[in-house]
């Protein structure tokens, strides 16, 4: 299949040799994902311990087991501690090559324990998908030079797939009139209640006021966002990737401004994987003094 080979070349770049900058960047990306994994599992563990009382909405594995068992006796915190330990072992490549898969399963468990209260957030999905890609990469491509290519390529693949999938979810869920600006009015009013309830006060910003005052402006905002989602899959090709990534980051800034939904980890990871940072690192390592380069 030519198209699959074409996508594979865009994602994994078999013609390009591995540089030191690429290996350095990969360890930094892994550190970023590891740190966020640890932050999330502890945040979720503490919240569960303090606030979760009953299962309102069972997600994932919670459909097959009673996760309310983890609400007490510090079990969610113990799970967080276990994940933290395993993440450190994985980062330093200590232990079997399937250890990342154990991290993923425990991470999934922590998510369904914490979010059994009805909310289905997606802002942590990219970190979760990254851990999944690390798990697959460590298992099937454990080589020092192969794992970075597979992990980064597969993360980019699933980011692109996710955005384009979101476009079609809207097309199927609503139809071609999804971008009608009045839909944005409803979402702005809905999110304004969340902000009012969360903070005790709410004041619309300039962009929200503009959208609420003009159906045309609101429609254009939605149309730009929807189109950007559609072309998410173009990230699969190296030359287009930085431009698509820039549009996606712009879209997330737009979502934050219009609907007060923040995707901090998501956007930071887009910045990391969407641009060829290894070239910058290679440039610095070439131009730095010999003594420093040897030490590194």
């Amino acid at each position: 299949m030519k198209w699959a080979e074409n996508i594979g070349r865009g994602l994994f770049e078999p013609e390009r040799s591995t540089s030191n900058g690429e290996l350095w960047f990969f360890k930094f990306l892994e550190l970023f994902v590891s740190v966020y994994t640890v932050i999330f599992v502890w945040e979720w563990g503490w919240y569960t311990q303090l606030r979760n009382v009953e299962v309102v909405l069972p997600l994932g594995l919670a459909n097959y087991m009673d996760v309310s068992l983890f609400f007490d006796h510090n079990l969610a915190l113990i799970n967080a501690a276990l994940i933290t330990l395993l993440v450190i072992l994985c980062y330093f490549r200590i232990g079997p090559k399937w250890l990342y898969m154990v991290v993923l399963i425990l991470f999934h468990l922590q998510y369904v324990i914490r979010f059994s209260q009805g909310e289905i957030p997606h802002s942590q999905n990219l970190i979760g998908m990254s851990v999944f890609c690390f798990a697959i990469g460590a298992w099937f491509f454990p080589g020092e030079k192969q794992m970075p290519r597979f992990v980064l390529g597969s993360i980019i693949f699933f980011i692109g797939l996710g955005y384009t999938s979101a476009f079609f979810s809207k097309l199927i869920g609503t139809g071609f009139n999804w971008y009608d600006g009045r839909h944005l009015w409803l979402w702005i009013s809905e999110k304004s209640i969340d902000i009012l309830s969360r903070e005790g006060v709410y004041q619309p910003n300039i962009l929200q006021q503009m959208a609420l005052n003009s159906t045309a402006i609101a429609s254009v905002i939605l149309l730009i966002g929807w189109f950007t989602e559609l072309i998410g899959f173009t990230m699969w090709w190296k030359k287009i990737r930085p431009y698509t990534t820039a549009l996606l980051i712009g879209m997330h800034i737009g979502i934050t401004l219009t609907m007060n939904i923040r995707f901090d980890a998501f956007v930071m990871q887009l910045i990391l994987v969407g641009f060829p940072w290894y070239k910058l690192i290679d440039h610095f390592t070439v131009s730095m003094p010999d003594i420093v380069r040897k030490w590194i």
């Binding site: 009382v53 309102v56 009805g118 997606h122 999944f132 697959i136 192969q146 290519r149 309830s197």
Partner: protein, 167 residues
Amino acid sequence: MNTGQTKQGMKIIGVIILIYALLVATHEGEFWPFSIYPMFSQAGNPWTRAMVLDVTDTTDDLIWHVQTLDGKMGSPVSMRNIGVDQIDYSNFISKTENWTESRRDALRQMFGPENIGNSRWMAAKVHGKMIGRDSVTVTIQPFLLVTADTVHMNPLLGEEYYFQGDH
């Protein structure tokens, strides 16, 4: 990765897509971290959220009536200040079908009796919908009156409002 490993990589991604599709298809679009990303996919529908109003100083004959956002009785209680995730709270209110005694008590525990103190907090549903073609209307439906040790249902609402599923 060489060309052979690239092909192997694409085959593995193909297998993952199949597993991905199978899991999200059998779990209503969500099997974290797999998702069909359905947020905002259904546009134009009326929505229901929730908020908490401090009605300590509001008289009993007024607290249970439907209010507008501009004419609400009592100031909103900040969920952040009491350490509760607003989205969790909102979903807890809107997705619970049967307000059994244990579920009502779970709401009181979520707020934390120590946070409520001597106050009276009204857990309210907030409904929003399009009116005509050019405006959105928002109404506040008082739902549960929560104090440090009790939870009262709105006497103006029928039992069917609190018990909608099998119980």
